[in-house]
């Protein structure tokens, strides 16, 4: 089991993910440069948080055209587990692997704080270690995390169980309190909170650890 962590110019959570996976759980991690195309030998891919390519134009809009993401999209289509955290979630929506878009927080502030969430894992393989309606705490750190989509899209995703993470006290104005979404196949998860920052007891909380531990089966 090896996890690939994509490093874009401007990523700043790549090493945190490496520490959470390899340092805390002993899951071997390989860093992938944004121009790499070789995903051979990887069992899962993580798109980390940060400000890829400066997040010019829109968050994730330029990263979407990175060579590595073509391969990640194919990997996801073959059923490979893909996790997009924060900026990674924004990339997944720009790529069209998850519906909707992430926009400016309703109160304009960059929000950096622990946030209470409700998990509804359904068939999402990344969340198989959590109970139905379990309440967890994960930190958020974003200026553009207000999830936005057509009401009909939201309704369809709620019916099919794709809204797997919800804010208990919606901090950013997201429709439907959406904090994280899974694709219908259950292998692609995008979320704004940072599970990798809740894996080491020394830095606060362990609620994110089961997300990475799910890869161990």
């Amino acid at each position: 089991m090896t996890i690939g962590v994509v490093v874009f110019p401007g990523s700043n959570c790549d090493r945190d993910v490496g520490w959470a996976a390899e340092g805390c759980l002993g899951l071997p991690t390989r860093f992938l440069w944004h121009e790499d195309r070789d995903l051979n030998g990887l069992d899962a891919v993580v798109l980390p948080g940060g400000f890829s390519y400066g997040d010019y134009l829109r968050c994730g809009a330029i990263a979407r055209f990175a060579p590595v993401l073509e391969e990640v999209a194919e990997f996801a289509a073959r059923g490979g587990p893909v996790l997009g955290i924060c900026n990674g979630f924004q990339m997944l929506t720009e790529l069209g692997l998850l519906p909707g878009a992430l926009t400016r927080n309703s109160r304009l502030h960059f929000i950096c704080e622990p946030t209470a969430l409700t998990v509804r894992p359904g068939s999402c393989r990344w969340l198989s270690g959590y109970g139905e309606n379990e309440e967890i705490n994960l930190p958020i750190a974003h200026g553009e995390g207000r999830y936005q989509c057509e009401p009909s899209t939201l309704e369809a995703m709620e019916k099919s169980g794709q809204v797997v993470l919800r804010y208990r006290n919606n901090p950013n104005g997201s429709v439907g309190d959406v904090a994280g979404l899974c694709n219908p196949g259950g292998n692609v998860l995008g979320l704004m909170p940072h599970p990798e920052r809740a894996c080491d007891p020394r830095t606060g909380g362990l609620d994110g650890q089961r997300l990475f531990a799910s890869l161990l089966g």
Binding site: R104, R146, G173
Partner: protein
Amino acid sequence: MGRAWLWSPPSDPFKLDLALAKGEHGLPRFNKRPGCLVPRFHARVLVSLRPSVLDPAGEATRAATSRLGVEGVSRLRIGKAVELEIEAPDADTARSRVELLSDRLLANPVIENWELELNEIAANGADLPA
């Protein structure tokens, strides 16, 4: 020094006038015979948030209008304008290329609408009327 030796303007001003008289516009190309010009187009893509999408930055700006003493601003939405120049054999080709860019890169159709203004650029650098 720089790259000045790569290309210098034709020494014969008559040649340029001839190009203008024939209605040829755009930049000379180094890899083609002298005097061969590729049309150049100026595009302005206006990207705006779709009406259904909340614009908190626009709202904050609108709140500031009355603080400046300007009353009656009932709606203020912030978008962006992207200016670009593109070489293409003709206006239709230029338009379809910029439309593709607008749809796939410059705007995200999930949350944004866009409009395109396209003009050919004359030899003197000014936009020709559409």
